[in-house]
């Protein structure tokens, strides 16, 4: 979270008691000398989109690729996955910045219900994952329903300074 010098104590970490004049721990920053700006971390949703700038629409048992490109104004602190689809699917995710897949093998992609929930009960990342600005995360979706499948798969988190 973005921080700034505590405006209450001016970065000293202490303030003077109004009656006695003796120093006390700053009640604003608790002696930390900085406070969170609070407005810098913008809640944000990144849905995976196809190169045609649309949601992935899979044919029955078909496969399709999609990507998230992080905006160049901020890094993205990813802490949740939510998804909604018209049928079952599985997915293989890769962080292209580090060329690191987020699951062991493209041959064994992860079922959607094992990696995503909805807003009510999202899949939480206990350790938020920092994705650098302008970097790309790709996803390869495969339909498991045997019918056409439209998938909205979102990385949710915060734009951080």
């Amino acid at each position: 979270m973005a921080k700034t010098t505590c405006p209450t104590c001016g970065g000293r970490g202490a303030v003077a008691n109004a009656k006695t004049g003796s120093p006390e721990l700053c009640p604003n920053c608790q002696g930390q000398t900085t406070v969170s700006l609070g407005t810098a971390d913008l809640p944000f949703w990144y849905p995976f989109v196809t190169p045609a700038n649309a949601l992935p629409v899979l044919l029955a048992n078909g496969t399709g690729g999609a990507a998230v490109v992080i905006d160049n104004d901020s890094d993205f602190l990813w802490d949740r996955i939510v998804a909604s689809s018209t049928g079952l699917f599985n997915v293989f995710l890769t962080d292209k910045f580090s060329a690191r897949p987020l699951m062991p093998s493209q041959a064994v992609p992860i079922n959607g219900e094992n990696i995503a929930g909805t807003a009510q009960l999202p899949f939480w990342l206990p350790k938020p994952y920092l994705i650098r600005r302008t970097s790309t995360v790709t996803a390869l979706f495969t339909d498991r329903s045997g019918a056409g499948n439209t998938i909205q798969f979102c990385l949710v988190g915060y734009k951080v300074a």
């Binding site: 209450t8 700053c26 609070g38 971390d41 913008l42 944000f44 989109v49 909205q152």
Partner: protein, 157 residues
């Protein structure tokens, strides 16, 4: 919220010291106004006025104008609707979208839940008093759709 909820540049050190002293001291005398810690905020809900969409209608605009008496520390989204919908949110006052692509609005089920299971923002987002928040709603149900989409949180000084 604790100490991080203090408004930067808000209260002076003296005022803070007095508040701290008062909180630790005796209860207020009878007849005085109710004393509560302003820093804890006051629970508040800002709804987008129930939005009425016709079947498959898109890009229906709605706005929330934040009250001028306090900033808003937004920590939840709750919504109910009569059908599936998608939404694109924008902090108009800062011209900052909350979603990456206006052409790909986020499905309602991916950004909101009912009050019992809302979408939580683990880091509450502070919105300045007087700000305008905009939303563009789209029906996905193919039938008329009434949506009440609420930003829930606290008014903080």
């Amino acid at each position: 919220m604790g100490s991080t909820g203090w408004s930067p540049g808000g209260a002076s050190p003296d005022a803070i010291t007095q508040q701290t002293t008062a909180a630790a001291g005796a209860p207020p005398p009878p007849g005085s106004p109710e004393v509560y810690d302003e820093d804890d905020g006051r629970f508040f809900i800002y709804p987008f006025d129930p939005v009425q969409l016709t079947a498959s209608q898109t890009n229906v605009q709605a706005q929330i104008a934040l009250d001028n008496d306090a900033d808003f520390l937004w920590d939840r989204i709750a919504a109910v609707s009569t059908g599936l919908f998608s939404v694109f949110l924008l902090n108009s006052s800062l011209a900052v979208p909350l979603m990456s692509n206006a052409l790909i609005p986020i499905f309602g089920e991916n950004c909101s839940g009912p009050a019992g299971l809302p979408l939580w923002l683990p880091r509450p987002y502070r919105i300045f008093r007087g700000s305008i928040l905009s939303a563009a709603f789209n029906d996905r149900s193919g039938a008329p759709n009434t949506i009440e989409f609420c930003l829930i949180g606290y008014k903080v000084s």
